[in-house]
């Protein structure tokens, strides 16, 4: 029965996508579209340069991810500090998270990448790569701090009580008992945000970083042909699809565990 069901799924998938393909290829203006978006000569010409330029994006998101993991955690812990003494710190952290989640990322990149260097303050760098990194780190740390915070709050207060009852300080209870459990639980949503971050690295092309999208743009303008963007799409599919599969697998595994009554 299962094998039979598999064949039905395969046949129906083939039929649906086949029909879609036939509809597109038989569209009135298909030849012109094919030439400007799916031109094999242009593609072969663009792919090596675009793929090579992707190293800038990799540098950018690897550095940003490391920084985001740290800054996001600091902000999450700041927002979790209890008591009236820490109100100013909580307010500061909350304002930061709210503002950077509210603003479109492109604006942050523009203001930091074009605005700050224009002030010509001595010692302030004007390297667009640097400001792109700062902007992406600030934007995604706001999201990731919320992910961390959800994880911290998902650890039952009895865990902190047990730690404190043994004489651990609040900071020690956070460091050795609460955070290790919180971080384990938030790995899937964290990776989801990283997928977003990796794709958003193309936004720094707007302040002049020559990465893969910028490279494709230059090629598109030179030959007045949009095929180089196909190379961009392909590079992202290759990098991002395995990561999305990994996230789905992690989420499914966690769900199986909690259904099976595994570790809380």
């Amino acid at each position: 029965m299962r094998r039979h069901g598999g064949w039905v799924a395969f046949a129906s998938t083939l039929a649906v996508f086949g029909l879609l393909g036939v509809a597109i290829v038989n569209a009135p203006n298909w030849p012109a579209v094919q030439n400007s978006f799916f031109n094999s000569v242009r593609f072969d010409d663009a792919l090596p340069d675009v793929a090579w330029a992707f190293r800038r994006n990799i540098e950018l998101f690897v550095l940003a991810e490391v920084l985001v993991l740290c800054l996001g955690l600091v902000v999450a812990v700041m927002r979790s500090l209890p008591g009236p003494v820490f109100l100013p710190i909580r307010l500061l952290a909350t304002a930061y998270v709210d503002i950077f989640r509210a603003l479109p990322g492109v604006l942050v990149i523009f203001y930091l990448g074009l605005g700050l260097p224009a002030l010509r303050i001595p010692g302030v760098p004007n390297d667009p790569f640097f400001w792109g990194l700062v902007a992406l780190t600030l934007i995604y740390s706001a999201y990731v701090s919320e992910v961390y915070r959800a994880g911290i709050e998902s650890v039952h207060p009895s865990q902190e009580a047990a730690a404190r009852s043994l004489g651990l300080t609040r900071a020690q209870a956070m460091r050795f008992v609460v955070l290790p459990q919180a971080v384990r639980r938030v790995i899937p949503p964290l990776l989801n945000d990283f997928i977003g971050l990796q794709k958003d690295t193309v936004l720094v092309s707007f302040i002049g970083v020559v990465e893969l999208f910028r490279t494709a743009q230059i090629k598109q303008a030179a030959a007045f042909n949009f095929t180089p963007y196909l190379a961009v799409a392909l590079v992202f599919l290759v990098i991002t699809l395995p990561l999305t599969r990994l996230v789905d697998w992690l989420v499914a595994r966690d769900r199986r565990r909690s259904v099976a009554g595994g570790r809380p």
């Binding site: 404190r164 043994l166 651990l168």
Partner: protein, 264 residues
């Protein structure tokens, strides 16, 4: 561990031995709900006192107040002559000397049993890892848990988890041990192994304050039994008297309900 015993009060010369725990006029409210309405209680060194009473009578709250997990509203608590409810007291130092075991075990699920046991000695008492682990293994051996030392808590039965939680509290060498209904979350066939551990501790001279629903256990382990009713200690005395010939009508009613439920 060296114990800071504080200065002897000249006014206490009339008391033959300084009590391990002295509670005076303890009041504790949660919002508008007054849970403890003026509790007075003394526990002598090496004495075992069992708290009995209906659910909601304040047994758990009383224990949590003694462990400083709940701030109190009025009254005072002294441990070995030191007022632990004084405003300037270092709560982390106080908690080191008072162990508490919870109804729901509250083991740390991300740590193996041995690491659960050694976390506080290593981080709070700064013991070197090998020393703490040797001491932890010796304690686990004493309670027949040595073969579980490297397991995660979710691989243990409920009874084993609760015994591990007791070992974790003992690893800090507390001078006072609080047990909060430690068998209430266990299947009936697992209760005996945990109660045996508590009996052994009593024989070894551990000072304990025990909230329990197990009247038979209270009768044979307790030096005194205190009946807590609506936030007050209504009756306290030797187990044979309180459980056998209760003076207060409310105590009689409570015990009759317990008998009807088959717990005595």
């Amino acid at each position: 561990m060296t114990v800071d015993r504080g200065a002897t009060d000249a006014g206490m010369a009339t008391t033959p031995a300084r009590p391990a725990l002295r509670i005076e006029g303890l009041v504790k409210s949660f919002g508008p709900l007054e849970v403890l309405k003026g509790v007075d209680l003394e526990v002598a060194e090496h004495e075992v006192v069992c708290l009995i009473g209906a659910s909601g009578s304040g047994k758990s709250t009383l224990l949590r107040c003694v462990n400083l997990l709940e701030p109190i509203d009025a009254g005072r608590i002294e441990v070995a002559g030191e007022e632990i409810t004084a405003p300037d007291v270092d709560v982390d130092r106080i908690r080191r000397g008072i162990g508490i075991v919870f109804q729901a075990f509250n083991l740390f699920p991300h740590l193996r049993v041995l690491d659960n046991v050694t976390l506080a000695p290593r981080k709070v008492l700064q013991r070197p890892r090998d020393e703490a682990e040797a001491a932890g293994r010796a304690l686990l051996r004493r309670f027949n848990l040595e073969d579980k030392a490297l397991e995660y808590p979710d691989r243990l039965s409920g009874g084993q988890q609760q015994r591990a939680a007791i070992v974790r509290a003992l690893a800090m060498e507390p001078r006072l041990l609080l047990l909060d209904e430690v068998t209430s979350a266990l299947d009936p066939e697992l209760i005996a192994e945990v109660l045996d551990v508590v009996r052994e501790l009593a024989r070894g001279g551990m000072t304990m304050l025990i909230a329990t629903h197990e009247m038979g256990f209270a009768r044979d382990v307790a030096d005194r039994v205190a009946f807590l009713d609506a936030g007050r200690i209504l009756e306290i005395g030797p187990p044979a008297q309180v459980l056998g010939e209760p003076r207060e009508p409310r105590t009689r009613q409570f015990l009759q309900r317990v008998v009807a439920a088959g717990r005595l």
